[in-house]
Amino acid sequence: MKTPLVLLNLLHQPLRTLVALLGVAFAILLVFMQLGFYGSAETASTTIYNALDFDLVLLSSNYLNTTRPRSFPRNRVYQALQHTDVASVSPVYIDWQTWRIRNRSRQRRAILVIAFNLDEPVWLRERVFLTQPAGECLRRLHTPDTVLMDTSTRDYFGPRQPGIETELNQTTVEVVGQFTIGTGYGTDGMILTSDRTYARLTSPQALDQPALGLIKLKPEARNRAASVKKDLARTLYTTHPRDEVHIFTRDEIEQRDRDYWMHRTSVGVIFQMGVFVACIVGVIFVYQVIATDITDHFAQYATLKAIGYSPWYLSGVVLRQALALSILGYVPALLVALVLYELGREKANLLLSMTWERAVGVLVLSIAMCSLSGLLALRKVKAADPAELF
């Protein structure tokens, strides 16, 4: 092809092309944002598990989600330890406590407290202690009545930076560091503490009732977690009434929590609608932009046809133009989406993050939308009668 028709078409009226690009970019941005919101709700439902180091987990059969886990008898932990493939079982305690706001109002607010044995490496440290060395933070927790504060705890909990002293369940505690797990729809504030401090906050008996039992398998057994789980389930379910404790693999429990938030609460329905609406708006927008462009060049296309170019050639031109528009619109949309994701993280504590799957998926989607719209609009040109034009 000697004449770069696509390029000339796009450059012929730069302002028009710019407007078309903005239209395509806006449509792609919408899809990015709605997918981001949907994804944030999904991520938020498994934040606590993402931060924990385990292969299998023991839970109460009355478990609802991580913010309302209930508890099971601790002797189950020892029972699980007897299995030859199990390297360690660490109990984790989760409960709501009342936090006294350190300002004039002196109000109390419920906050989620997660407690664990400091000698057991329960956390995936690089995911939890982003801002300071993990070892230092965890070492400070050895002092009784000290806690760590989640960085995404809402502002209405009042002053909560390291060094602040306040009451937790009528016991004075000191905030000695920060961590980042992230709060979702189930909780608005979170605290980490040692099991000993937890016993002082609640009661010594509380340590007999963990909420989670994190099972780590020996390295050689890791790739057959599912079969170990079946094995363990058999021993755990037969020695005691089976509806007291449940055992899940990491994938299973994450899927269960996602399922809870995305399908059993209204949150999921709303985000699915959002993605659906964004896609429809995207298609309509892109079609408008491309169809307008083709209609504007109607006479030119008809002329090309009249002087003997095949419909295939015309389709090729339109498709290449659609491809150019979709890629040129995709780049600014991706950049703006990244900025808005950042804004959502900062301002609304939304767990927005761009995944490779989403970035690539949306690129494919936008190319498909643009090509399809182009081809649809081309039907008009194919039907064009050169004689009529003049």
């Binding site: 239209g23 944002m33 419920a110 509806d243 059993r264 209204s266 959002g274 301002k347």
Partner: protein, 393 residues
């Protein structure tokens, strides 16, 4: 100059091609629909959290000073209610007992024994002799609640609670209870279902850990009914005066607002739906601009002719603006209709409380009008450059 009201040019411009008019109105209607959907979801989530408050049968609400959200237990002594009854203008004051966390409901009717795990359900308890809730179904069956361990179950409760029908026996807080009948309330961020029971049943199921006899002496919410014709604000001040400051007195609307504000801040829904609303606005603006600017370009010859025979730019501007306002109105009506249908459908299928209040309708209408006028203003620039000489050149 001719008075320009004689020929409704804007209207004629818009309506001379009927088929086109429909497409255009639908374009704007789509944007209106989009904004309604976003606003509707946002409000549904917040409205759902105050459904119970709205049904309290009183004008004033009494809660502990420490109260900040319904799902978090902050109780106050019932003595405050007795004191409130002394205030001028007060007809009655009822204690309401709530339980969100330790009230585990076990679906003992499910066939597979392993699936019978239990889930917390919201418990609402009060004296069945008093009309504490303004809910016809509840009031019709209040008498049944007088029998100990009889409860009413919310039909909108989620499916993990199992069957929802009158006459079944289930387990609540490890005790056997009887579902005497059903009523309709709805779920929200804090609960997936509700039951109503008498205060005496409540005391049996959820006794105060420290002193079981004192269970009913601590209320979660106090509902205060005023004598007919009493000014709410005056009554509130009167009640406030007779009570010490360990409790707070709110009007029902204020109390609803506190609850909504809590969920607005505790969850990221505000950010998400404000974004959605802006998106609808921008989409609508672009559609409107497309329509109006196409229309202007197509009628450029006519506009230029008008100019040539002596009409001012101002008249032409005004015509374009009126055209965009007409478009706003013509698009708004079907948009509103479509949204209403979707609202009813979601209400029926998903159980989300989707309300079209006059204020919300007004808000979306203003946004539609602003969006159309803004795009009209943008399209105006073309009219101004219409040069009669060029058109007929």
């Amino acid at each position: 100059m001719l008075p320009f009201t004689r020929v409704p040019l804007a209207w004629l411009n818009l309506t001379h091609d009927k088929r086109r008019l429909i497409v255009r109105a639908l374009g704007v209607a789509f944007a209106v629909f989009l904004m309604f959907v976003e606003l509707g979801f946002w409000n549904a989530l917040l409205d759902a959290s105050v459904e119970l408050i709205e049904q309290f049968n009183g004008e004033l609400i009494l809660v502990s000073k420490a109260h900040y959200a319904m799902a978090v237990k902050e109780q106050f002594t019932c003595r405050r209610l007795a004191q409130a009854r002394m205030a001028p203008g007060v007809r009655a004051a009822f204690p309401v007992y709530l339980e969100y966390t330790s009230s585990f409901w076990k679906d003992t009717g499910s066939p597979e024994p392993r699936r019978s795990s239990s889930h917390p359900i919201r418990v609402i308890a009060f004296d069945p002799d008093q009309p504490v809730l303004a809910n016809p179904a509840v009031n019709a069956h209040r008498g049944d609640l007088k029998i100990l361990f009889n409860v009413l179950l919310d039909t909108k409760s989620k499916r993990e609670y199992g069957e929802i029908e009158a006459g079944i026996d289930r387990e609540l807080a490890q005790q056997r209870i009887h579902v005497a009948d059903t009523f309709t309330l709805g779920t929200n961020f804090a609960c997936d279902g509700s039951v109503i029971m008498s205060d005496l049943t409540y005391a049996e199921l959820f006794p105060n850990e420290l002193s079981p006899d004192a269970t009913l002496r601590l209320a979660d919410v106090g509902v205060i009914q005023l004598k007919p014709g009493t000014d709410v604000e005056t009554a509130r001040r009167a009640v406030r005066e007779v009570l010490p400051d360990d409790v707070a007195v709110y009007t029902k609307d204020e109390f609803s607002d506190i609850e909504k504000k809590y969920w607005q801040n505790a969850t990221p829904i505000g950010f998400i739906f404000q974004f959605g609303l802006c998106m609808g606005f921008i989409v609508g603006g672009v559609i409107c601009y497309q329509i109006i600017s196409t229309d202007v370009s197509e009628h450029l010859a006519e506009f230029a002719t008008l100019k040539a025979i002596g009409y001012h730019n101002r008249y032409l501007n005004w015509t374009v603006l009126r055209e965009s306002l007409w478009l706003a109105m013509l698009g708004f009506v079907p948009g509103l209709g479509l949204s209403w249908l979707l609202y009813r459908a979601l209400d029926a299928w998903v159980g989300l409380p989707m309300y079209l209040t006059p204020l919300r309708i007004l808000l979306i209408f203003s946004m539609t009008a602003i969006m159309c006028v803004l795009s009209g203003l943008l399209a105006l620039r073309k009219v101004r450059t219409a040069d009669p000489a060029e058109v007929f050149g």
